[in-house]
């Protein structure tokens, strides 16, 4: 029952917001939102000791299909993802409070309702005990975020909404669902099992490759080329959505699915026999989107392409099919989430405080918005992977994993990509600090409201703290890899 709470609380929060939106003031409604986020995180934390003790708490909902129930089971990887999603929900709820007010957005009740729903479904993905449950919540996540992407309800939002639903639904229905169906048909089970369930039942490497392709491309939330277009388009959403959902919950649900499937459905042994092309696609995605990010002037779009490339880090880590790389991939889910959410928060704060969207307008911002730009700088370092920031650990493991797999070329890819990320992030920092603000900016630009600034400072500090406190996360994950990580 306890593991059901982190899923139910956000869903109830959605209901509560609907009720409060009608009868209470906006402040009460949003206060309740933040409060529920804290309560939810508390209950997620309650589960951690159990998982650390080696327990796998589970909860059975209903026998949806014979032998394929709706069923939750918490294992280390899902625990980690739930911690990330529920933990970052708290700063985002405060941030959204400030942002939506500072920006005079309409339909705030609907916004917060869908927001809470999306968190609930993301945690549902994290706790899924079998493929069909995961698929169900994956789809629910898509539909619940649609109203958020199209929040402004103008022509732009409508177009992006079509791309969003079009890509995510058509890939998940045509590819991912085929994959789930085929696994069920070929193996007769859908339970996540360490070491995989396909090995021994399907021998033909061609069929295994096809299955892998169905999962890798069907999970378009992981934004592998060529199904990445939805992500930059989703940036029409208000910034809190981009921050939590399109840097954390939604995209991480995608890479989480790929990582989980590669560990629990395929298993490393089988995966390592068919992974060549997937590693290549992931590497291409990393380099391609980093290069695109270099060319973009719109800050949110640049961050979106940076997200695509960072997601591909995780997919590449999963595809290398060894414990060290997978550990790096799992760590990167956390490290990138904390770093990228900070960057998006900053982009939103700049928009609220300075009404600027483009990198080329950001001269001298560091003098007018010191807190925001300081946080931006710290988070950029973490994304690039410099010590002492959290990002260094995941990159370290990913690179070691590439060596372990004997794939020096992908080690080079990671290195090259780090250079490229310096190329697309540092110019923003340099502009902000080393150039003078224009006269107009001198008068009109100021820090965003404290409710926007405080959360981004907290997450920026978080990315530093993660450098020093990465080992508990590593310990949490270790059982999956059966001591394969030194």
């Amino acid at each position: 029952m306890m593991i059901l709470l982190p899923i139910l609380i956000p869903l109830c929060t959605a209901l509560l917001i609907q009720v409060l939106g009608r009868i209470a003031s906006d402040n009460v409604r949003d206060g309740a939102h933040t409060l529920m986020a804290i309560v939810n995180f508390y209950f997620v934390l309650q589960i951690v000791p159990l998982v650390l003790n080696g327990e796998r708490p589970e909860f059975f909902i209903a026998e949806m299909l014979p032998g394929a129930p709706i069923y939750f089971q918490v294992e280390p990887l899902g625990m980690l993802f739930a911690l990330v999603a529920s933990g970052l929900w708290i700063p985002t709820s405060v941030y959204a409070f400030g942002y939506m007010r500072g920006h005079h957005e309409k339909n705030q009740t609907r916004f917060f309702t869908c927001f809470a729903l999306a968190i609930g479904f993301a945690i549902g993905v994290a706790f899924s005990g079998n493929l069909i449950t995961l698929f169900a919540f994956y789809e629910a996540l898509t539909f619940s975020t649609f109203p958020l992407v199209t929040h402004h309800q103008d022509a732009d939002a409508k177009r992006s909404g079509r791309i969003y639903i079009g890509i995510l639904v058509s890939t998940s229905v045509c590819l991912l669902l085929s994959g789930v169906l085929s696994v069920w048909y070929l193996t007769g089970t859908m339970d996540f099992t360490l070491g995989g369930i396909i090995a021994g039942k399907v021998d033909d490497p061609f069929i295994v490759s096809v299955l892998l392709a169905l999962f890798a491309f069907g999970t378009a939330k992981a934004a592998l080329v060529p199904f990445h277009k939805w992500l930059p388009n989703a940036m029409v959403a208000p910034t809190p959505v981009s921050a939590l959902l399109h840097a954390v919950a939604v995209v991480k649900a995608g890479v989480f699915t790929i990582l989980k499937v590669s560990i629990y459905i395929f298993g490393f042994e089988l995966l390592s026999s068919v992974n060549d092309w997937l590693m290549a696609i992931a590497a291409i995605t990393i380099l391609f989107s980093s290069c695109v990010a270099l060319t973009l002037d719109n800050l949110k779009a640049r961050l979106a392409y940076s997200t695509i490339s960072q997601l591909a880090y995780i997919v590449l880590g999963a595809a290398m099919a060894n414990p060290i790389a997978a550990m790096g991939a799992a760590l990167h889910i956390v490290m990138h989430a904390v770093g990228k959410i900070t960057l998006f928060f900053c982009a939103g704060a700049i928009f609220v405080g300075a009404h600027k969207k483009y990198v080329s307008q950001m001269d001298g911002l560091g003098h007018k918005m010191p807190w925001t730009m300081a946080a931006f700088t710290l988070a950029s370092f973490s994304i690039i992977g410099l010590p002492p920031f959290g990002g260094v650990w995941s990159k370290w493991y990913l690179c070691l994993g590439a060596l372990e797999a004997g794939q020096v070329i992908y080690l080079v890819t990671y290195m090259l990509s780090s250079l490229l990320s310096i190329g697309y992030l540092m110019p923003i920092v340099a502009r902000a600090y080393f150039r003078k603000p224009s006269e107009h900016d001198e008068e009109h630009v100021h820090e965003a409201p404290w409710m926007c600034v405080l959360p981004l400072c907290i997450t920026a500090v978080g990315s530093v703290l993660l450098f020093f406190f990465a080992s508990p996360i590593r310990e949490l994950l270790l059982p999956i890899f059966e001591g394969g990580v030194q």
Partner: protein, 497 residues
Amino acid sequence: MSNIIEHLPVLQIVVPLVAAPTIVLFRNSTLSWILAVLASWFCLFGSITMLNQINGGGEIPTYLIGGWDPHVGIVYQVDIANAFILTLLSGISAVVFVYARTSVRDEIPEAKHHYFYAALLLCFTGLMGMAITGDAFNIFVFLEISSLSGYALIAMGRNPKALTAAYRYLIMGTLGGTFILLGIGFLYMMTGTLNLEELSHAVPHYAETSVVRAAFAFITVGTCIKLALFPLHMWLPNCYTYAPSVVSAFLSATATKVSFYVLLRAMFMLFGAALIAQAKIFLSFVIFLALIGIFMGSLKAIGQDDVKRLLAYSSIAQIGYMVLGLSLDNADGLTGAIIHLFNHALTKGGLFLVMGCFMYRLNSTKIKDLAGIGKKMPLTMLAFTIGGLSLIGVPLTAGFISKWYLAMGALQAGMWWLLVLILLASLLAVVYIFRVLEAAYFGTPEKEHDVEEAPFSLLFPTYVLIGSTIFFGIWTEPMLGAARKSAELFLSSGGAL
């Protein structure tokens, strides 16, 4: 209690059949409504009792009407398959009849109310009768009862086009009915019995004769007309579009479903393996028709301006899915067809009830008139959204379960390409549902209309049906179990196809 159970089969027919003329005598709108609702609730109670009895391993004794020997008299025989259909029929009616009160007062002149309810009950009786009877000629009688009252119901629509729609349905429906009668006549000619049980034993002996083959052809084509399988679907869109809202909801959820049930029973229990084994090419042909139906229906639905018509074309596509499951030649496919029959009835019935809410407030179901309605009628639109998701087949809704089984059926049959087509077709459903959603949530109304949320008396029954699509998408066990057992019953009775 056991006494009542013994008589339940016949009471399922007698109660609504007696209630209908009584209503006409009362000539009072409210009283008629109360009687209709009570009759449908009684039937629901009866059907659920019988379904539970059978699900629990029990049996319902065959009911001999008037105590006549089965060879000459009429029997009512309830097994898992028709207990399932009876529950669906009476369940849908129990909800739709409650809804009817408010909607009928708005759409139909007061003086005709009692005729309306009487016709509705007769139609209901006919459909229940087709499901429960164990006599071939009796099927035809009930078919005609339900069809004739159905024509009258459709003709009561406000739009003058309802008359031509009903007339067209009358012509097509009569053709279908006559075909079925001819088929039954041929069978009687060969075997000398009308009892379905006896027929199923006798027919295989004559499987080689051209008379039985002709009977097979007539019955199949006749039911396919009533079922609206492509290319015999032409009557359907106008009927659903111009009929009163209650009638659209009722017929879309029941009439085609019962015809499908009759087709199943005829194919598997009457003709069975003996005949169809010779006709593999026939099955391939049916798959082909079903696929065209699915794609044509979905594509046509995308192009419609009126949401009721859009839903009607979507029905043609969904009927394609059911027939596809039937022709797949395996247990999963047949289970998929039967569970889809149930799930689609809930979904489509619910969606047409939503249309009734729009009709009540806006007097229109055109997409352009629905522009921006999401703000004015949020609850109604939410119901449409949920129903639409079930129609698409999103997991955790009923629609997903049926798609899953149909897809598994395709895999079992070794047809990978069919799996791809099924999944592609459900993307078309995404397109036509989102067209409506976009208009409702993003559109700006041409003129600021002053409408409010639909009244509770409409919303409540709507949400009962719409809510059930979620309920039966998660807690699938009772209905899925019944569908699987029905599929096994069908497959075992005639041997595999």
